[in-house]
Amino acid sequence: MAMKFEKKSGGGYLLDICGYVCPHPQIYTKQALGKIKEGDHLEVVFDNPSSSESISQMCEQRGDEIIEKKREGGKFTFIIEKG
């Protein structure tokens, strides 16, 4: 288990925080959003159910837009456009 934050080859960023539990996914997501520019896309992949609710509300309050939410099994993928 290791946190991965990288630039994607096709543009945008990937933050993979699978295996982490609260509060790590939401704190890493906030930190990653703080590192990228307005309009950039951040793909967040995590598997901690409680974090989905917190990350969604955080984005709404910050003015970031979640443009895609996917769920496969226990894995969540959010694509966030920084506002």
Binding site: C22, T29, D47, P49, S54
Partner: protein
């Protein structure tokens, strides 16, 4: 296919609990008392998992990422429960007992707050997350179990109880002279315990959260859409927006408040039916005298509670390894060390894990997650912190905070202040920790 498999597993868990309930009922009618605890535990577990309802996230998410959803959920649950408790107390159907009022509640809350953020879940959150298969929470649970059992078995803890805690006053606002003189009869419970101790501080808390964390972002979004400047109406809309930001959490809060009230009512009904104010007396009637304390009692709160029964599990295990766990006040005089299958409050905890597991299975959120690396350290350390904090404060986020505030005990707010401060310290630590790791990752950019 996965959905069907999960549904079958959820039915198996429910089936097992039904079977256990029937076996208890068949063995002795008194065991219906345990069955009631099991099924209220299940209800709590279902709701906690549905609402992702964890007290740890209340101030942690507020401080760490500016999200207040859980504070709203907790306030909703507490207010509803307080109203039901006032109603039950007015009708002599309450089971609530206030705790000793003192600075230990702030100190215990502080240690507990540090622990719950490190572990990623509060005492009740640790149970429901264990039900989801979260291994870090299972480690935290171990930490809570054994840190408490070891701490209360020391002479230092006996001195803390006899030399300090037992000398402190225990109050509810309804029983204070000023409130009972001004509002005689049943009104004192609604004014003192519900209105003054729960509703007014809750409204103030919501206003603080709104003005310091929520308003700025809300107004920015709202003013983008509408013409003209800010009006008072915008603030009302903002407050409503705060309350309704996470419907799932708010609905869970509402239902938890109702279930907690029904739980108290049902337990009191059981006590009246069997003519015993504590399950220990029923255990004695059945001949299980080794289970009970020197007073003939076992831990039987009569409402939602988490940590003391976990300490009893630790004592039970340590006894099997030859330790004497009864030469102390906590187990020997107050709570006893019943066999696990005859421990009433423990069945509530098992019910919470089972209820959460069922909900997680049905939501396709159940997965065994084995903790690795740093999570092992955070889980264990956090659990130990929560265990120690809960014993110092004589309760956890449920017994020392939620239940006490709703019951009219101002000491619940003291625990809350400590818990907030502890959460803040842990969030600061995690912010530093994660920023350090992010910086390392970004070296590759």
């Amino acid at each position: 296919m996965e959905e069907k498999r999960n549904a079958i597993c959820a039915f198996i868990v429910a089936g097992l609990l039904i079977l256990i309930s029937l076996l208890y009922y068949r063995t002795n009618t008194y065991y219906i008392y345990l069955v009631v605890y099991i099924w209220f535990g299940v209800a709590y577990g279902l709701l906690l998992q549905y609402g992702r309802f964890c007290f740890a996230s209340a101030f942690r998410d507020l401080f760490a990422i500016g999200v207040p959803r859980m504070i709203v959920g907790i306030i909703t649950a507490m207010t509803v429960f307080s109203l039901v408790t006032a109603l039950l107390t007015a009708n002599k159907m309450g089971t609530f007992h206030p705790g000793p009022l003192g600075i230990h509640e702030v100190i215990g809350g502080f240690i507990f707050g540090i622990g719950m953020v490190l572990a990623g879940g509060c005492a009740s959150g640790t149970l429901y997350k264990s039900g989801e298969g979260n291994g870090t929470s299972m480690l935290a649970l171990l930490g809570i179990i054994f840190s408490q059992a070891i701490l209360v078995n020391t002479s230092l803890f006996d001195k803390f109880l006899t030399g300090y805690a037992f000398k402190l006053p225990t109050i509810t606002l309804a029983k204070t002279k000023i409130i009972s003189d001004m509002f005689p009869g049943s009104a004192k419970y609604f004014v003192g315990n519900f209105l003054i101790n729960t509703v007014i501080p809750s409204i103030l808390l919501i206003l603080v959260v709104y003005f310091f964390w929520f308003r700025k972002g809300f107004m920015k979004r709202r003013l983008k859409k509408k013409k003209g400047g800010k009006t008072l109406g915008d603030d009302f809309a903002g407050l409503w927006g705060l309350m309704a930001a996470s419907k799932r959490t708010s609905i869970a809060g509402l239902l938890i408040g109702i279930v907690s009230g029904l739980h108290v009512w049902t337990m009191k009904g059981m006590q009246i039916k069997f003519g015993a104010s504590n399950f220990g007396y029923l255990l004695t009637r059945m001949g299980h005298v080794a289970d009970v304390s020197s007073r003939g009692t076992v831990f039987d709160p009569g409402y939602w509670y988490i940590t003391t029964q976990e300490a009893q599990v630790g004592a039970w295990v340590l006894e099997k390894f030859g330790f004497n766990m009864r030469h102390n006040i906590f187990f020997g005089v107050m709570n006893g060390v019943p066999e696990l299958w005859r421990n009433p409050a423990l069945w509530m905890s098992i019910g919470i894990i089972a209820g959460s597991m069922m909900m997680a299975l049905l939501n396709k959120e159940f997965a065994i997650k084995i903790p690795r690396g740093e999570l092992i350290v955070w889980g264990l350390l956090g659990g130990i912190g929560m265990g120690i904090g809960a014993r110092v404060a004589l309760g956890c986020n449920i017994g020392a905070f939620f239940i006490r505030i709703a019951g009219g005990d101002p000491g619940g707010w003291l625990f809350g202040i400590g818990m907030v401060l502890g959460s803040y310290v842990s969030v600061k630590f995690f912010n530093w920790w994660t920023a350090r790791k992010m910086a390392t990752e970004m070296e590759a950019f």
